[in-house]
Symmetry: C2
Subunit: 197 residues, 2 copies
Amino acid sequence: MGFNAAPFDVVEASRRVWLQRWNPEAASGMAVFTAVLRSYQLLIDQVNAVTRRHGLTFARYQVLAWLATDPEPSLTLSWISNTLRIPPATVTDIIDRLEDDKLVRRVPHPSDARTTLAEITARGRKVADAATEDLNVTVYESVGLSERKRTALVELLAELRAEGNEFDVDQSRAVIEGVGSRAGRPKGGPEDEADVA
Amino acid sequence: MGFNAAPFDVVEASRRVWLQRWNPEAASGMAVFTAVLRSYQLLIDQVNAVTRRHGLTFARYQVLAWLATDPEPSLTLSWISNTLRIPPATVTDIIDRLEDDKLVRRVPHPSDARTTLAEITARGRKVADAATEDLNVTVYESVGLSERKRTALVELLAELRAEGNEFDVDQSRAVIEGVGSRAGRPKGGPEDEADVA
DNA sequence: GACAAATGCTACGGGGTCGAAGTAATTTGC
DNA sequence: GCAAATTACTTCGACCCCGTAGCATTTGTC
C-alpha cells in the first residue's frame, strides 16, 4: 500500500485524549507505544517495498542477511528463532521458502541429530547483498534525523528494550565481542536459563 | 509466544557489522530501523496479550478505542482507514468482525450513500474501556524509561515521522485543536490534496 | 444534464504467520 | 542403563491481513 500522510499526528492526539480520560503515566506510556508503532509502520512499509523487489519478504530477507553476514556460513534454526524472535514454526516455513528458491540449504548438524543448520548458497549471498545495498540506499541512508539524533534515539530505545528484557543485558557485550562464536555451538542454548516467566 | 530475551543486543551487533561492511550513514539508519522494529515487537507482544484477553486483536481494539473515544459515536470507514493507516479491505473485515460481536453497528451516512458509518454500541464501549484500562495498567504504565526520557523519545519519533511524511504536519495542529470536528464531515477528505506520489 | 473521473466500500482469494500437537533425538536423574 | 524430561524441528490448521477487481455513488467538466 502506498503511504499517504494521515490527516494529523495520531500520537499527539491520542496523548491528549489519554490525559483527559486517564492518568499521566498511562498517557506517556501510550504515547511511546503509539509513536513506536507508527514509526514502525512508516519504515517497514519502505523496507517491504525494497525486499519485494528482490523476491523476498522482510522476514526472509532478515534470515538471509544474517546468514550472509555471519562468519559461519550456517546457523541453527533455533538460533535464528531465538535471536530474530521468530516462532519455530515460522522459521521452518521461512527456510522452506528460501530453500525452494535455492538461496539456502538445510544441512544436518554434525554432532546433534535433532538440530538442523541453514547454510547460505552462493546465489543466496548474492541476493542478500543486493537487497542490503538497495535497502541502504533507498531506506536506511535517508531515514530522517541528524546523526546525533539517530544515536540518541537508538540509545533511548536500547534502554527501553533492556528494561523490557528484550535481550540478555549481562551476556550481550561478551557475545558481541566474540562475533565468530555464534554459529557452531553444539548446544545452542544459553548456559544459564534466564528467569523469564 | 512468550517473550524470551534474545542472547544479545541485535541492534548493536548489526550496527557493528554494518560499520565494517557498509558506510556509517547506512549503519545509523539501519540501527534506527532495527531498534524501532525490536521495540515494536517487544511492545506489541504485550499489547496483543492484553487485547486477546478481551476478545480483540490489536487492530480491532484500535478501531474500537477510537470509536469509544471520539465525541461523535460514529466514524466513516474511510476516515478510519486514512487515520489508522489500515487498508480499506482490512477495515471492512475488522468492522465485519466487530459487528459479529455486537460491538459496532454499520449505519448509512445521512448525505452520502457511498459512505458507511461505524457506530459503537453500548457493549462496544464497555469492552473498549475495559481493554484500555487493562492496557494502561498492564503495559503503558510500566513501559520503561523516566517520564523525561519518554517525552524525549516521543519527540524524536515525531520528528522522524514528520520527515517521513507520516502525517500532515501543516494541518495537524489545527485538526487536533478542533477535536470534535473529525467525524461528521460529509466529504471526509482533506480539502487540499497532499502532494504524495 | 450527460459523460468521465474520482471516491467509498465490498467480495474474493491468497499469502504470511503462528499456536498446538506430534515426532525424533538428546540429556538428566536415579 | 533406562525412563522421564527437555530440546529441536515439522505438520497441521486456522486466523488475520490485504491486493485486486468490481460495483455503486458522487463530483467535475463541458
